[in-house]
Amino acid sequence: MTTLYDRLGGAEAVNAAVDIFYRKVLADDRVNGFFDNTDMDRQIAKQKAFLTMAFGGPNKYTGKDMRTGHKHLVARGLNDSHVDAIIELLGSTLKELGAAPADIAQVAAIAESVRNDVLNR
């Protein structure tokens, strides 16, 4: 049985997706305020780690990382609507890359599973 990560195309898919995804994030007024004044290269590296996780690939994310990593953003107003927007942008990125709807839903479910950790609740 192939894994979700393999079906999506593994590390190559992450590399292809990261620019498309991050461009959407920066262009989206609902969420780009959280990405102001950030070092682009560092952000791209972080987005790669996030996409690898959401694509079901090998990752070292823990609930604790998710919490500490987003604490300062929650203090700045990060809430459910922003998580919704990110999951939506993730979906449209995958659609653009030609992923199957069932796989897109599975990625959304993985992203959904870290929502409470991201929002520190």
């Binding site: 590390a11 990261v18 620019d19 991050y22 461009r23 920066l26 262009a27 682009m40 791209i44």
Partner: protein
Amino acid sequence: MHASQGEVPEAAQKGLKTTLRKQNLFLSCQCLPEHDMTVSLPDAQGLDTRAVIASREMLNHNVMRLLLRPESGFACEPGQFISLINGDGLARSYSVANNPVRDGVIELHIRLLKGGMMSDFLREEAAPGETVTVRGPAGNCFYVSDDGRDYPIVLAGTGTGLAPLYGIVKQALAMGHNGAIQLFHGALHSNDLYLVEELLALAAGHAPLRYTPCVLHDAPGSLPGPFYVQGNIEDVVLSALPSDKAPARLFLCGAPEFVNALKRKAFLAGLASRHIFADAFLPSKPMPAAA
């Protein structure tokens, strides 16, 4: 990590920028050595080289061209930067504007700041014949031809941000680059430009190269014109990005605000993040906040 000896497995360099791969940098977590390798942490590779000041020359009212002759073998890619350390241990980063291996000297372009410590040393004390220390090189702003020589190159710098770009352009031309090369140099006033004659001649002699000086505040009469574009270099560069974005490479150097803003805008305009190479000339200490 950095491999000083031994072959780096392909998998350990996957996803890294070509300029990082070329320096034998790799991801240790992805590295299953196939042969013996000698490795070190990347920032520990910088060896110190003693160098003699060969010449100092003003290129405009405040930019000095400093030529240093290394006493022992020194190698770097044109466009990387080194740390210049004087006898008092004062250290500052400067970008390399030439190919030191070919020329036997290291060429630096240094904007002399009023009250700057290294600036004062260079203006008043650093006489030809004096010895300094060069540490490095570092940085991944340089030309590579691994993916062929046909991709379009855009280079944009403000002030002495021209230094690394000048090195990269000359290297690309020496390597026989075929793709279009567009060089943009931004200055506040036309008298802040430098190497204008050399660059106009270089562009006239090399078909792929176009050189566009951009001056923010026009001061008519200061230099015979109009050989420059008047306007904000950011806008000029964005409107000149190649239509074929996928293979295009962008090099950005100079003022941090300029570098970071254009990096983001060019990325949003469609350039691949792994094709954007930038060195922000950060001050040695945080600048006092603007009032």
